[in-house]
């Protein structure tokens, strides 16, 4: 794979997002594969934020640490990131912001505001100057970028479109004049139709394709994108997104809506997830299907609000008091984010239990180009539902069955009545306390885990069948893991990569992998090694090593390779 990385840094509120959006569109439209991650602080103005773009001639799902181009809208960008520059790299910076002109090879001074003003345009068009300057390294003219200006600004008037074009051209020329024509990053031969989508919209679209009818949530980074996406499509997709007074209310509303018969979900992050757990337990006891997205960020407490971590796995596993059936899914990229939401709803409905989808900031906020998402592949299975007309007067909501699943009645759908409770109950749903009844109901609920385990999604395997090294990870680490495997294979190593997208219960297929050939190393973004611990518990197994990251930044192949080397796991 040939890839090319651009990092744009600046203060919040400086227009980073606008330049970023223009580039996302332009790069993907131009035909490159793209992966882009936002690194931002928990503030509205100031600070230091950056967006990194990695374009490639093959599908790309992770970042590299070194960059080809550094674009500095603030001083901190050069101070902090210049050591990341590749040999022959280019730095585009604003000398008025930097406070000096840097006379070094590859450094190009573009006073963004001044460039805009020279063209008789307002300061805000500094963004267009930056976009044009960057594009001089990616294209020989600005046709592509101009098309995006037209799409973005035509509603604001032709003047604005033309102004942006002029400023972009001036930015473009500055860099061209300084550096001349350089080789452009190689493009894929024929990528075929592509989508450009981030994790949050992929999760939300997956839910809409699965027929979610109700969502309630309380805003919390990095999950808010899901919530706002569902809210924005309320009318179009007949779904209610009700902003709750807190996450306790959100979760309880979801349980109420699902009890009443609607597919219902919520999305939150660590602190909010903590508040939801009592109601998740109630859903389990009353056998109400619910889907909960936990977009993880570093904890404990509010932790690092805008950063990433895979630190909630054991909390998800141990969510709420008592033993109850549940499943935890962990999408590794936008494709899995979309399709696993449908699967989550089906599992929840089929087994009438909570299903937790573990996302994280890395997945939530990263854009990827990807093959189109196909809603015809989303199958809706509502599980065993009876109407109040069919059920008859002797209907028992919690009738004891071998599978543990009892047909669910939608209240109001006919004369039969449904009674459910979070307190322990008998088959009819009324409260009981006898030892026998308790045992029977526990056995019934837990019997569902047999079915859940049997259909647990198998791990995704790449690399060698007879490996010397097996790298195991879960969730959003997938991209970094698989590229690490590619890189090691290129060096002649026999490596296998294992991506676990269902982290509870595990697929039995994992047993063979864990007991099979090769040294096993678990790669994950948390301090204690939560996947490792859970695998150990479920399979009485111990790996040979681990790679962990807990500084709030996403894992990438460079980091993993360095740690593998340091741990003595390579050759």
């Amino acid at each position: 794979m040939n890839s090319f990385s651009i990092k744009i840094g600046g203060e919040a509120g400086q227009g980073l997002v606008s330049v970023g959006n223009i580039l996302l569109q332009a790069i993907s439209q131009e035909g490159w594969y793209l992966f882009s991650h936002r690194d931002y602080e928990s503030r509205i103005r100031g600070g230091h934020n950056f967006t990194q773009f990695r374009l490639a001639d093959e599908p790309v799902h992770t970042l590299e640490e070194a960059v080809d181009v550094l674009v500095a809208l603030d001083k901190a960008t050069i101070d902090r990131h210049r050591q990341e520059l590749k040999e022959d790299g280019v730095v585009i910076y604003d000398p008025s912001v930097q406070g000096e002109t840097i006379d070094e090879p590859g450094f190009v001074a573009v006073p963004f505001v001044e460039v805009a003003q020279d063209q008789g345009q307002p300061k805000v068009m500094a963004n267009a100057a930056a976009a044009g300057a960057i594009w001089s390294l990616l294209g020989d003219d600005l046709e592509r970028v101009n098309g995006i200006f037209a799409a973005m600004f035509s509603r604001k008037g032709e003047d604005i479109v033309e102004g942006n074009k002029k400023v972009a051209q001036a930015g473009f020329d500055r860099v061209r004049d300084a550096l001349g024509h350089r080789d452009m990053p190689p493009k894929p031969a024929n990528a075929g139709p592509q989508y450009l989508i981030a994790g949050n919209p992929a999760l939300a679209s997956g839910a809409l394709a699965a027929g979610v009818k109700f969502m309630s949530a309380y805003p919390m980074t990095p999950s808010t994108g899901v919530t706002e996406f569902i809210a924005a499509n309320g009318r179009r997709c007949s779904v209610i997104m009700e902003q709750a007074e807190d996450e306790i209310a959100a979760m309880n509303m979801v349980v109420g809506a699902s009890y009443a018969g609607a597919r219902a979900m919520t999305a939150t992050s660590g602190g909010g997830f903590s508040l939801m757990t009592e109601a998740i337990g109630m859903a389990a006891s009353a056998e109400v299907p619910v889907v909960v997205i936990d977009a993880q960020r570093p904890g404990p407490s509010t932790g690092l609000p805008t950063r990433t971590e895979q630190g909630d796995l054991l909390y998800g596993f141990g969510t709420a008091s008592g033993d109850f059936p549940k499943a935890i899914l962990a999408p590794g990229d936008v494709q899995e984010a979309f399709y696993l939401m449908g699967h989550a709803f089906n599992l929840a409905d089929k087994y009438q239990m909570p299903v937790i989808v573990m996302s994280d900031q890395h997945l939530a906020d990263s854009y990827e180009t990807t093959i189109p998402l196909d809603m015809d592949k989303v199958i809706v299975d509502r599980g065993e539902i009876v109407s109040g007309d069919e059920a008859g007067p002797d209907y028992k909501r919690f009738a004891l069955t071998e599978s543990g699943v009892s047909p669910r009645l939608v209240p109001g759908s006919g004369p039969a009545l449904t009674v459910a409770a979070g307190d322990e109950h008998d088959e009819e749903g009324h409260l009981v306390e006898s030892a026998e009844a308790r045992r029977a109901m526990m056995d019934k609920r837990m019997a569902k885990m047999k079915g859940v385990a049997e259909e647990a999604l198998p791990p995704v395997l790449v690399g060698d069948d007879e490996p010397e090294l097996v790298l195991i990870s879960w969730g959003s680490t997938k991209g970094a893991l698989f590229e690490t495997v590619d890189k090691l294979q290129e060096k002649g190593q026999k490596v296998k990569g294992v991506h676990i997208k269902q982290v509870y219960p595990f697929s039995q297929d994992l047993e063979a992998v864990l007991q099979g050939p090769g040294k096993k190393v678990v790669v994950e973004s948390n301090y204690v090694g939560q996947l490792e611990k859970l695998l150990g518990m479920e399979f009485a197994w111990k790996p040979d090593g681990c790679v962990r990251r807990y500084d709030g930044r996403p894992l990438n192949p460079d980091y993993i390779l360095r740690e593998l080397e340091g741990g003595g796991h390579l050759g």
Binding site: S28, E30, G31, P193, Q194, Y195, L196, I197, P201, S205, L208, A209, A210, G211, K213, F214, S216, N233, G234, R235, R236, C237, S238, I240, E242, A244, E245, D246, I248, A249, N252, M253, V255, G256, A257, Y259, A260, A262, A264, E278, A279, M282, A286, T369, P372, L373, M375, V380, G388, V410, P411, G412, S413, G414, P415, L417, V419, A421, H430, L431
Partner: protein, 289 residues
């Protein structure tokens, strides 16, 4: 005589003999009988506490949820199926302590449900601790020196928040309670009925006799106007030797279900995947090179 539709089931209750909950149960059942509803049109969402058990003894759909969380659960159900007549039922601890935040917001949102609070001024199920409704001086296991705080006023709070229908009734006055519940159900919007209910075991102060000798019906005052918010708020301050019961305040406001355009085509529980809508969304992600 034909069976009553909502008649209480012969199930043994978990209540003490003489409990005020019996009066509420009977009144609720009678109130529904006359409302030309069928049990399957009705959903009782209840909390945890002695009050929260009520729906298990009456005919209807039941969801007995968590302590303090009746209102959000009832809200979720009502939003996806406005055709259901939804009750939220719980104790004073459930609603005014654990669930306080939800109460504020359910009133603000004007969810079209009826909230019955069995107000015995004590935590019954957990065997007699102070509730936000306990009177000053009330000695309990958690307040051995007696409650020092002023008691919470649910009605004044509800009126402050412009709740749709704000009433108080008394479990010892069945006809009043039946009438009040019916009016609450018939009101389009959030209705709260705080029901004075003796706890015969853990509240030896606020007994049947205590309440009976104090309550008077707001209707006895011909000049009382439940559309006058300021007067209603002042009336809600009255507590002690004389305790008003009846409808304190009523206002018509848009309900939460009306605020969501998604419900325009009928209850969401009857709707499936919006294929075209989702397709449109997905097409929007396409890169047009």
């Amino acid at each position: 005589m034909a069976d009553k539709l909502f008649q209480t089931t012969p199930r043994e209750t978990a209540w003490c003999p003489g409990c005020g909950n019996f009066g509420i149960l009977n009144a609720l059942s009678d109130a529904l009988e006359e409302l030309s509803l069928e049990p399957h049109d009705v959903l009782f969402v209840s909390g945890i506490g002695q009050a929260g058990k009520t729906p298990h003894y009456i005919k209807g759909n039941v969801f007995n949820t968590l302590h303090g969380r009746t209102l959000p659960a009832a809200t979720g159900a009502k939003l996806v199926n406005p055709e259901l007549t939804v009750f939220a039922i719980g104790g004073d601890g459930d609603g005014y302590a654990e669930g306080g935040n939800h109460l504020l917001h359910a009133m603000r949102k004007n969810v079209n449900i009826t909230y019955l609070v069995h107000d015995n001024q004590v935590f019954g199920l957990t065997k007699g601790q102070a509730s936000p409704r306990s009177d000053q001086g009330f000695v309990t296991g958690t307040t051995p020196q007696g409650v020092s705080l002023e008691s919470f006023s649910p009605l004044a709070t509800a009126i402050t928040l412009n709740a749709g229908f704000v009433a108080r009734s008394f479990s010892g006055n069945k006809s009043h309670l039946v009438e009040t519940i019916q009016a609450a159900v018939n009101h389009e919007g959030f209705s709260i009925v705080d029901i004075l209910q003796p706890c015969v075991t853990f509240n030896k102060i606020n007994t049947f006799q205590w309440y009976r000798s104090r309550v008077y019906d707001l209707k006895d005052d011909e000049n009382y106007d439940p559309s006058n918010r300021t007067a209603a708020w002042e009336k809600a301050q009255q507590w002690g030797d004389r305790i008003p019961i009846g409808v304190f305040y009523k206002v018509d406001r848009a309900t939460l279900d009306e605020a969501h355009p998604a419900s325009a085509n009928g209850p969401l529980v009857k709707q499936g995947v919006e294929y075209d809508g989702v397709k449109e969304i997905l097409d929007g992600f396409a890169v047009n090179g």
